[in-house]
């Protein structure tokens, strides 16, 4: 049996080889090392996952703990180097490796002409290493290593074209926004350490579950701190601002960050710490409200974006809002289910948009596309599959996960359900808007671009097809509850980590009729979104209806198009005052006071020296006279000093 630590180690080796030797040894070497290491990881991961999953479904899956040594030992606190395979980490491992691998393969085609090919793959491998460390760590500290690792890699990859000011700025923004979240996360970890004296998952969670009345008072603080970290990583209100700007990175990177790795880390942490969250109704309410608000807010912004990748970015924020909404009402399993299906279809959407951008020679504005269906058939059909999935059209993967979330939310709070319901309709609308603007109608770009249109190479279309199949059938592992508790493989798999009471029972309470009615309603709203997008953006009238809308409500449109001016708000409320404060510290405290003190010291010494200089006459008899006066003074002192 291969030890678990090999899984993150392989991409790390790939990172070292690509990074250190890649520039000299050329593209073939980089491709073999970069993609090969992730391929090997994927194969080895699945070799471990298949028997584990078989055991889990047979009903006797004890978490596998592998301890490699001690890391920190101080007083009664000890942290081990240890990895853990349980249903939750197994689930994350399965799609992080697989989707990550597909994105690597795709990148071979997409980045083919890039000068920084070796650098790109070394970063991408480091990203995989960090994410696998995060997922497999058996305690919060190892998790935090991976957590910071993905933060670093997102910075490196978003700012991949570091010579462009906008890319460098976007990378910095992602990094700083994540640090804000990490600050909360770290405080949460310190609180956990202070309360339990350990960060080991299988010590702290059972301890909290065993004595809820003892630990519950502190849990609101801990859960909220962890959630702040999750907000940063998973781009929730109010820390979401970095994600749309992250579009500055190469498109496969967007896919990796948005779908398989970084942004899912926040949901993973909340699901992992579900014991803590369930002890605090306040924290749960905060999670649900933030998630619901984010889902709606980002979906509204998504309807007015014209950059194809920006739409997808806001869509990611919105979908992550759904996941947190699910966690907030206690349906952690539904949240994780959506993480998985979202990984499939969002990776597919990003890679599909990458294929479009590739064909358009770098153009990302949908207003200059149109009619690409004929030139890019594979891209079109796979993109359509992902759109159907995210819109929640039945049998596609997103339908199952989204409706499970909405069902669970309805059981807890019809008001929040309404928010999610409206967001679902908007999701359907803005995604079909992308499809109609991009693939239907007539081409709106230049003749030269039209001539240049071509389908992408096989390394790019291959992953698209595989992800399209997963987006289509991936939802069947989590069939709706009214078909029976046994039908939902997903719940059965995750139940050892997330007790069923919080996971499946919510929807069970609703009863069969309500559940079917809810499903019908959300399918209906998805179809409405589709039809509206179709009437707005397809056929002869393409673009006229939205234009009339914009003319009718110019204010509303301007506010939405400018993303509710949140960036501007942050700039005014946080950035400017901080910069003014920093300037004050620089000019007044540092330059004036601190430098002033140091300079004053040297000035005094210099002054004393200047004064004493005049006594250095060089005249022997002056010196002798000084001696005499000194001796007289000394003798006088000795003579009169009190005995």
């Amino acid at each position: 049996m291969i030890p678990l630590f090999v899984l993150p180690l392989l991409p790390f080796l790939g990172f070292l080889l690509c990074g250190l030797l890649g520039r000299k040894l050329g593209k073939t070497f980089v491709t073999v090392c970069g993609v090969g290491s992730v391929a090997a990881t994927t194969v080895l991961a699945w070799v471990r996952l298949v028997p584990f999953a078989a055991d889990a479904f047979a009903g006797h899956a004890a978490p596998i703990l592998e301890r490699y040594g001690s890391w920190i030992r101080a007083g009664n606190v000890s942290v081990d180097f240890a990895m853990r395979l349980d249903p939750l980490s197994a689930l994350m491992l399965s799609f992080v490796t697989f989707v990550g691998f597909l994105i690597h393969v795709y990148s071979v085609g997409y980045m083919h002409h890039d000068e920084g090919y070796w650098r790109y793959f070394s970063y991408l491998n480091l990203f995989m290493f960090a994410m696998l460390t995060l997922v497999l760590g058996s305690n919060f500290l190892i998790l935090f290593v991976g957590w910071e690792g993905v933060g670093l890699c997102s910075y490196l990859l978003i700012a991949f074209d570091y010579q462009k000011e906008s890319s460098a700025r976007a990378g910095r923004k992602a990094f700083v926004a994540n640090r804000v979240g990490d600050f909360g996360f770290l405080i949460g970890l310190f609180l956990v350490l202070g309360l339990f004296g350990s960060l080991e998952f299988d010590r702290i969670f059972p301890a909290a579950a065993a004595a809820p009345e003892r630990f519950a008072p502190a849990m609101t603080a801990i859960a909220l701190c962890l959630f702040i970290g999750a907000c940063g990583k998973s781009a929730q209100l109010p820390l979401y601002v970095w994600l749309p700007d992250a579009m500055a990175g190469p498109t496969p990177v967007s896919a990796l960050i948005h779908a398989a790795t970084m942004v899912t880390a926040g949901v993973y942490v909340v699901a992992r710490a579900n014991v803590f969250f369930r002890l605090s109704p306040t924290a749960m309410a905060v999670v649900a409200i933030v998630g619901g608000a984010t889902a709606l807010f980002a979906a509204i912004i998504g309807t007015a974006q014209t950059d194809i990748k920006k739409v997808l970015a806001y869509s990611t924020i919105s979908q992550l809002g759904y996941m947190f909404l699910a966690c907030g009402v206690g349906a952690f399993v539904a949240g994780m289910f959506h993480v998985m299906t979202h990984a499939f279809f969002k990776a597919l959407l990003f890679l599909g948009s990458g294929s479009v951008i590739h064909a358009m020679g770098g153009e990302q504005d949908m207003r200059r596309m149109g009619g690409l269906r004929r030139a890019l058939p594979v891209t079109y059909w796979t993109f359509l599959a992902a759109t159907l999935a995210i819109a929640g059209i039945p049998v596609w993967a997103g339908f199952f996960s989204k409706d499970e979330i909405l069902g669970a939310v309805f059981a807890k709070s019809p008001a929040l359900w309404a928010v999610g319901f409206v967001a679902a309709g908007l999701t359907s609308f803005y995604m079909f808007r992308v499809v109609y603007l991009t693939f239907f109608g007539t081409f709106r770009g230049t003749e030269e671009e039209k001539h240049h249109l071509h389908e992408s190479p096989a390394t790019m279309t291959g992953p698209l097809v595989i992800l399209a199949i997963l987006s289509t059938v991936g939802g069947f592992v989590g069939l709706p509850a009214f078909l029976g508790e046994r039908a939902n493989l997903f719940h059965r798999f995750l139940s050892p980590i997330v007790p069923p009471i919080a996971a499946g029972a919510l929807i069970g309470e609703l009863g069969c009729g309500t559940e079917i009615a809810l499903i019908a309603a959300s399918v209906a709203v998805a179809l409405v979104g589709w039809v509206v997008a179709r009437t707005f953006y397809s056929g002869e009238r393409a673009g006229t209806v939205p234009e009339r809308f914009v003319r009718a409500f110019p204010g509303v449109h301007r506010v939405v198009e400018n993303k509710f001016y949140v960036d501007e708000l942050y700039e005014a409320v946080i950035y400017r005052p901080f910069r003014a404060l920093s300037r004050m510290f620089w000019k007044v405290v540092d330059t004036l006071i601190i430098d002033g003190l140091v300079n004053a010291g040297s000035f005094l010494v210099e002054l004393a020296g200047d004064l004493l200089r005049f006594f250095t006459t060089g005249n022997v008899r002056n010196y002798a006279l000084t001696f005499l006066l000194g001796i007289v003074a000394l003798l006088a002192y000795l003579g009169w000093a009190p005995r």
Partner: protein
Amino acid sequence: MSVPLLDVLVVSVALFSLGLCGALLRRNAITIFLSIELMLNAANLAIVGFGEKVGGYAGQTVVFFAIVVAAAEAAVGLAIFVAVFRHHETIDVNKTNLLKW
């Protein structure tokens, strides 16, 4: 017949003061040097006087050492004056103020 200690000390102080005045007021380095020898001898005289008072030969022995050291110093000092004279063609201490600021 022994000289009273007070007389010895009076002579010693007188000698020392003369030497001090010479050292401070004269310009010729050799004269200053001679004045310093005078102060040294005043000190020697005081030591002999005190030694006589205490009894034994310790005082006289110390004075012998002091005179030997002073003689060695005089040799070094004169060598320096010769070197200074070769350089400046004078041994007027007011004109050899190389250590001045």
